[in-house]
């Protein structure tokens, strides 16, 4: 990061600064408006009655009607959906990152026949988005008795997060000097102990990135839980939002409030995790 900061300072001293900065601000303001205003109005319109909404969606709520938010926060569905999403995303992340880092260790620091083949196999998963596998996956889950079961969503999501996890972790693990491993082995540690006690802590930045990617992917997944769950109390937040929309279709203000509440967890996590997600995007580029 230090290098980047230096580069920026050098750049801002460069020529052309005074013609481009105003354009930068102009574009910034336009983007800001297009991004924030819709979100803001979902919040504001959720604090209106349907009568107010019909008359004027643009004005501020007058008076503020907190009943929509109140009824959402004091009834079970929202918290159930939130809890289900959190459970599934957590389990999917732990599995993807746990099993992914073990496999990445094997494929980065052991020499054995077929190693590149295994790696290619994992990476080929990038070609199979979950949407394309959804129908046969559903049939498989039926055979396994995992429909309407949170494991039926968490396990496939973990599996589909493995390719990107491997793609980011393997080069990272490879880049850690072999001297460290030699030293650990000379000191009598086994390779598994080296993995747990030395390599994992060293890989922390990459692990944070892949964890966030796996978590967000699971949190946002819509089609798979839509196929798998039939009982409403099992729904995840995205499926819950869609059901809420069709259940209360005439009560627009209430759905707006619910949509806002469904957006809040993602935005809250994002505000402090943005750095790592950007690093993930950059990591994917470096491959």
């Amino acid at each position: 990061m230090a290098a980047l900061a230096t580069a920026d300072r050098a750049r801002s001293r460069g020529h052309g600064r005074w013609t481009i900065i105003p354009a930068t601000y102009l574009v910034s303001i336009v983007i800001l408006g297009l991004t924030i205003v819709p979100l803001l109005y979902v919040f504001l319109d959720g604090a209106k009655s349907n009568g107010q909404l019909g008359e004027n969606s643009i004005a501020l709520p007058h008076p503020w009607v907190w009943a929509n938010y109140g009824s959402i926060l004091t009834t079970a569905p929202f918290w159930q959906f939130l809890g289900n999403s959190a459970l599934i995303a957590t389990v999917a992340t732990v599995l993807a990152v746990g099993l992914g880092s073990m496999a990445a260790f094997a494929l980065s620091r052991y020499a054995f026949r077929g190693r590149e083949l295994y790696y290619t196999l994992f990476i080929s998963g990038l070609l199979f988005p979950i949407v394309m596998a959804a129908l046969p996956l559903f049939a498989l889950l039926q055979d396994l008795g995992l429909t309407d079961n949170w494991l039926g969503v968490a396990l496939p999501e973990a599996a589909f997060s493995l390719p990107i996890t491997m793609l980011i972790l393997r080069p990272f693990m490879r880049a850690i000097p072999g001297d460290l491993e030699d030293a650990a082995l000379v000191d009598g540690a086994g390779r598994l102990r080296f993995f747990v006690q030395i390599l994992i802590p060293l890989c922390k930045p990459a692990l944070v990135t892949v964890s966030l990617l796996a978590f967000v992917t699971s949190w946002n997944q819509f089609l798979l839980p839509l196929l798998v769950f039939t009982t409403q109390s099992h729904f995840t937040l995205p499926v819950g939002v869609s059901v809420y929309q069709s259940t209360y279709s005439s009560n627009t203000a209430l759905i707006l409030a619910f949509t806002m509440m469904a957006a809040v967890p993602a935005l809250a996590v994002f505000v402090f995790a943005e750095r790592y997600l950007v690093a993930g995007a950059a990591g994917a580029v470096k491959g």
């Binding site: 930068t24 073990m102 052991y110 290619t120 049939a139 089609l223």
Partner: protein, 333 residues
Amino acid sequence: MTRSTADAGLTGPAATAEAVAAGPRAARPTSWSRRRRLRKTTELSILLGPGLVLFILFVLGPIAVGIYYSLYNWDGYGPVSDFIGLKNYTYAFKSDDFVTAILHTLLLTGLALVIQGPLSLGIALLLNRKFRGRSFMRLVIFAPYVLPPAVTAVMWSLLLQPDGFTDQVFRAVGLGGLVSLWLANQHIVLYTNFVVLSWQYLGFGIVLLLAGLQGIPIELKEAAAIDGATAWQVTRRVVLPLLGPTIRIWVFITVIGSLQVFDIIWLMTQGGPAGASDSMATYMYRTGFQNQAFGYGTAVSIIMFIFCLVFCLAYQRFALRRDTAGALTRAVV
């Protein structure tokens, strides 16, 4: 990548240890080296096994089984017995609805490339300098990307309701004449979907390209400027070529994402009205799952996969080949 170069790249002690083991002892394996080899095999199974099982069971398995299902007339329940060969596939390509869905998907993909691409690039170039509030801007730009697409879809379907927020804004700024039935007009609905998709995904492109731009050494730009290049020439001749790998990855991610677009379209319009906004994925869900033509729906998803594969192979052949650090490219060789 060949095996020898792969091994040469290995920095761990395994390489040296193996070289020793392959020395004079190799001809006459001792119990020591046997035990070592056994231990390595055990370690590898422990490390690699669980991930491999999970991956094969839930990723590769369904794809393979999907090919099998796609050859049957099957409703998703009960025995799979009515073998019909390739009839699902021929039916799909004869179906006007599906061909339309393919064209919609390709149109959305094309629009993403020619509109979101230059837009992301331009904005990233403008934002790639130090100015007050830059990190805040980056945060705001990226924010829609992390929203669950389902939330984005429900949000916009409400904001786009007739006489809803969007219409009122249009009227307030004197553009009331442009107001239409954004989600109900057959001629507009696909483009409405595209705008909402762009709202969600534009930030990803910008942030990805910004990350790429920050990886370009400032010295190169300074050197070009000192040699008398204008700002435009520096951008065109130095920055853009160096940004090539990032742009190519963005294209790859965007195309794969666009080919399987589902959540937003499904929740805003369910592919309607009358199929006017159907994508391949919404068509697959409706026919395969809702109408219980499961075997047929699987055939549709295999066709989607073939689109993906053909694109990947062609892209690998013509574009990604030049990137040395293309782990993605290795996947499809």
